[in-house]
């Protein structure tokens, strides 16, 4: 029996992975070849998907990008023995794009069968939980604090401090909520973990439960991710069956229950308090803070709200220790960040690396430049509320503070590349339009200001009282920045002002001085 790996990841499926798997199964059976097709996650080298990996006596051999039509010639050439073929790639882990990553959180993604708990255990799964079960709650929290992990969902708040607050909040019931709303354009790392290694998220949430004394967890998953929902539910079922969820986890006497809840297509429900409202069955209106969700959270109880990647980074920290994790990174940005290369880029994909690499290295050495072959002109980092960077800023290291210093954000690590055909006034207008569409409506600067913003940008572009309207746009951005309750209204000025400042010529204004 030869094991062949073909991804079940959404992006691989979007390029025809299902058809490749079907063709292989059919043709192998008609040739009486004994093949077991494992549906793994994706290695994240998306320009090579559909990737087909074969387990041979010389190790795993990869072929890609494979289409269903290629299957016959691959089998003829000796696919199952790892023989040569025009699509032969050799060991995928030796390709520079993969080899030069620091895969801590994504260690298993693409390697294992995502919903097979034995495979998870065979690849160091549940070692973090095992350690956590032997520790006192305060010691678990200390490991997380020592790791220097900061929330990967956007605000980069120290995870250890948040956990400590919930730990010290006395209550009869506490909750762990995983923010799997991942609404930012250009981001897909949460999705890839949930589809490619759901157990690591389940393990991370279980450890969080032990750390603060919470017995119930919810994964708030955006409805746009149906494949992630299937994988999560399959893994949760397996974890229950094998005594890793439920009552008396691994004979420890500890309890943790976990459930997936679907969102309904509202970007604002990624904001943590709006998410909690939604989980309670209400409209996703943002709540005033304080009180913090750590004190008064879901159903009024102390609640940890963490991003998928934050929680999925916990098992390796509890397995190898906070110090081990902290040794990656620079300054106050510790550990690794799974970056997501998207948009107009030749080699799009997931790139997990320690903080500190520059954007330029990533865009050119690994990303291979633009997909269109034209010059890269603007890069938006950190989702729709992130600033647009220009060529002169590409040497900025990927580090929370270095980005803050240039009025930009790393956010969730999404990188969207635009070539020189982009019109930045259009992008600025879109940022305002997005805010109109997605504002929760609670406060005026965001709800009304964004609508006015669209109009003012239109007037500038149409040449109506250009200078006066440019001043007005800046004023409006100021009001939104300082007068909004949450970062939706508060950060929409980032993409707008960066577009205006770096690319004024697209607004019909005088070019920026270099």
């Amino acid at each position: 029996m030869t094991r062949v790996f073909i991804s079940r990841d959404s992006t691989a499926l979007s390029l025809g992975a299902e058809q490749v798997a079907k063709a292989l199964a059919q043709q192998a059976s008609s040739k009486n070849l004994s093949v077991e097709i494992v549906r793994n996650g994706s290695r994240g080298l998306f320009w090579l998907e559909t990737l087909v990996e074969v387990e041979t006596s010389q190790g795993r051999v990869a072929y890609g990008p494979v289409q269903a039509e290629d299957v016959a010639s691959l089998l003829d050439a000796g696919l199952l023995e790892g023989k040569q073929h025009p699509l032969y790639l050799g060991n995928i882990e030796e390709i520079a794009y993969f080899k030069n990553q620091n895969r801590l959180t994504f260690a298993r993604v693409g390697l294992t069968d995502p919903v097979n708990i034995d495979d998870y255990l065979a690849h160091d799964g549940y070692r973090g939980l095992k350690n956590a079960l032997a520790l006192h709650a305060t010691e678990i929290v200390k490991q997380v604090t020592d790791s220097g992990l900061r929330g990967r969902g956007g605000a980069a708040f120290p995870t250890g401090i948040k956990w400590n607050t919930v730990l010290n909040a006395p209550a009869d019931q506490k909750y762990i909520v995983c923010n799997a709303d991942e609404g930012d354009s250009g981001t897909f790392s949460d999705r890839m973990i949930m589809e490619g290694d759901p157990f690591v998220l389940i393990e991370g949430m279980t450890i969080a439960g032990l750390a603060v004394g919470a017995t119930q967890g919810y994964i708030y998953l955006r409805v746009e991710y149906p494949h992630a929902k299937i994988a999560l539910n399959q893994a949760i079922e397996a974890a229950y069956k094998n005594g890793y969820l439920g009552e008396n986890i691994q004979g420890s006497g500890k309890t943790f229950h976990l459930e997936v809840r679907s969102g309904a297509g509202a970007y604002i429900c990624g904001e943590e308090t709006s998410l909690l409202e939604s989980l309670e069955g209400k409209r996703g209106l943002v709540r005033f803070k304080p009180p913090l969700p750590a004190i008064v959270g879901l159903f009024g109880k102390p609640t940890i709200v963490n991003n998928v990647i934050s929680l999925a980074s916990i098992p390796v920290i509890l397995d190898k220790g906070g110090e081990y994790y902290k040794n990656y990174g620079m300054g106050r940005s510790r550990g690794t960040l799974p970056l997501q290369l998207a948009g107009n880029i030749k080699h799009p994909g997931l790139f997990e690396v320690a903080f500190g690499m520059t954007l330029r290295e990533l865009l050119y050495d690994y990303g291979g430049g633009s997909a269109s072959g034209r010059p890269i002109r603007a890069v938006q980092v950190g989702g729709p509320l992130g600033a647009y960077l220009h060529e002169g800023q590409f040497d900025t290291p990927l580090d929370y503070e270095a980005f803050a210093a240039i009025s930009a954000v790393l956010g969730h690590g999404g990188i969207v590349v635009h070539d020189d055909t982009v019109n930045m006034a259009d992008m600025a207008r879109y940022a305002m339009e997005f805010c109109v569409e997605e504002s929760c409506g609670k406060c005026t600067p965001c709800r009304i200001g964004s609508t006015r913003g669209v109009e003012v940008i239109d007037r500038i572009v149409d040449g109506v009282q250009k200078d006066k309207n440019t001043v007005l746009l800046r004023d409006l951005c100021d009001t939104m920045t300082y007068g909004s309750l949450c970062a939706m209204g508060g950060m929409t000025p980032f993409p707008v002002l960066s577009a205006l400042n770096h690319f004024p010529e697209d607004f019909g204004l005088e070019a920026a001085k270099a």
Binding site: S10, R191, G265, E280, R283, F434
Partner: protein, 158 residues
């Protein structure tokens, strides 16, 4: 449009199975939309009664979320991503083309009832932009030609 009396038992059953669940309104709405294809406006009365909420509150929740709909969709729902990464790869041209080919705007259904068109803001498939979904299938690197081929396939498979 279907008569609510024929749909009512389904709604009541969904309400019943979610009775004890904390924060059950969204799961209930999903349950109804998953089975009926939309949330019949008449169902709001039953939902409100069962959850001890006002009808206005229930309606407020339905209308807050982009995903919920109160009219029946076409046989296939096409969602086109409008977000930045897809724009960087000619998503806007695809959007224009799709509207033209289908002869409808966003939030509309074709006269033959086969396709509904909805905008979506990121499908997490940004590595292969531009992206669309047809029902639950995600499709990446969609050119206008590929879009036309897909339409033909789905029309044929009607």
């Amino acid at each position: 449009m279907q008569d609510y009396q024929t749909q009512k038992p389904t709604v009541l059953e969904i309400l019943d199975t979610h009775q004890a669940m904390p924060g059950n309104l969204l799961p209930i709405l999903h349950g109804i939309q998953d089975t009926l294809g939309y949330i019949p406006p008449a169902a709001v009365v039953d939902i409100a009664k069962s959850l001890n909420l006002s009808q206005a509150e229930v309606h407020g929740v339905i209308s807050f979320y982009h995903y919920f709909r109160e009219t029946p969709p076409g046989e296939h729902t096409i969602r086109i991503c409008r977000a930045e990464s897809c724009q960087a790869m000619n998503g806007k041209a695809l959007e224009t083309h799709a509207k033209q080919q289908l002869g409808i705007d966003f939030h509309e259904t074709t006269a033959d009832g086969i396709f509904s068109l909805e905008p979506v803001y990121c499908l997490g498939n940004c590595a292969c932009s531009p992206s669309i979904t047809i029902d639950d299938e995600v499709i990446g690197r969609v050119t206008t030609e590929k879009f036309d081929r897909l339409l033909a396939t789905y029309k044929g498979a009607k």
